[in-house]
């Protein structure tokens, strides 16, 4: 399975990678993008099986990325990893087709709970 991590912070991409390993998803192929626009370009090259995306990013936000993917008919599994956690944001994410929203800071257990139904 191919997982694409999208976050403008190199530190956070490293932490997400590490947490994926700690949660038992270390055998999946992981790639990274710096923002929504880079992620969109990466998806055009090769569609991953799952996208883990930050919400607030320069160039293109996570929600703009998700809306853009869905508008182009790309039905890749998509989850947010973000500090945004208000009910309005959660509803917005769900309405756009996000499968889950993991709140930063997170634990490996948060990843297991969110990803296991999708990744197995």
């Amino acid at each position: 399975m191919k997982i694409l991590i999208v976050d403008d912070s190199k530190a956070m991409r490293m932490i997400v990678r590490r947490t994926l390993r700690q949660a038992g998803f270390g055998d999946h192929a992981v790639t990274e993008a710096n923002n929504g626009k880079e992620a969109l370009d990466a998806v055009r090259q090769s569609v991953p099986d799952l996208i883990l995306s930050d919400w607030n990013m320069p160039e293109m936000s996570g929600i703009e990325l998700l809306d853009s993917l869905r508008a182009q008919g790309v039905s890749v599994k998509f989850g947010f990893v973000t500090t945004e956690r208000t009910p309005e944001m959660r509803a917005r994410a769900a309405d756009s087709g996000a499968a889950f929203l993991i709140v930063k800071p997170f634990t490996p257990e948060d990843f297991k709970e969110a990803l296991t139904p999708l990744v197995g």
């Binding site: 530190a11 932490i15 607030n56 973000t82 500090t83 208000t86 930063k104």
Partner: protein
């Protein structure tokens, strides 16, 4: 004529003090959960000027009626230690990597701050900015700060505010 102006300034100061306390609450939670800190001590609002040798991150917090900047500042050495703590002990050397990590810590604090105030006011978080040295206030901005000791490492929390309405 000056009385209403004084009253308004005082009201702004009270709000800044309350926001600083909320920022400290948010920072304590993030220090424990994301940095694994076990010993935390908050000074409350401090009277003395900010030291001139600090660096760190300012992040905009926008809300109805006010625009804030939340600063998370420390010496360069402590910024490196905070970055390392966020990354689970990995050594972090370059300014770019240190500021990237401290920016993420500040983003986490801003998110927690937003959550703590969610039932009172809608806060929108902007894009962070890294700084080294002094920041000077312009255009009627007011600023307040205090020191959070994170496992005996001094971290200055700064709230700078401007009324927008």
């Amino acid at each position: 004529m000056s009385l209403p102006v004084r009253a308004e300034a005082s009201k702004t100061d009270v709000k800044l003090a309350a926001w600083l306390e909320s920022a400290a609450d948010a920072a304590r939670e993030i220090a424990e959960s994301a940095l694994g800190a076990s010993e935390l001590a908050w000074s409350g609002a401090a009277g003395e000027a900010l030291p001139g040798n600090l660096c760190g991150i300012y992040i905009p917090l926008m809300m109805d009626g006010a625009a804030l900047q939340l600063g998370v500042l420390a010496t360069r050495e402590v910024c490196g230690e905070l970055a390392s703590a966020l990354l689970g002990g990995d050594d972090v050397q370059s300014d770019a990597d240190v500021f990237d990590a401290v920016g993420e810590i500040t983003n986490l604090i801003a998110g927690q701050f937003k959550m703590l105030l969610a039932d009172q006011i809608n806060v929108r978080v902007g894009v962070p900015l890294a700084m080294k040295g002094r920041v000077f206030l312009l255009g009627g901005s007011r600023s307040i700060h205090g020191v959070l000791n994170v496992d005996q490492r001094a971290v200055w929390l700064v709230v700078t505010g401007t009324k927008t309405t």
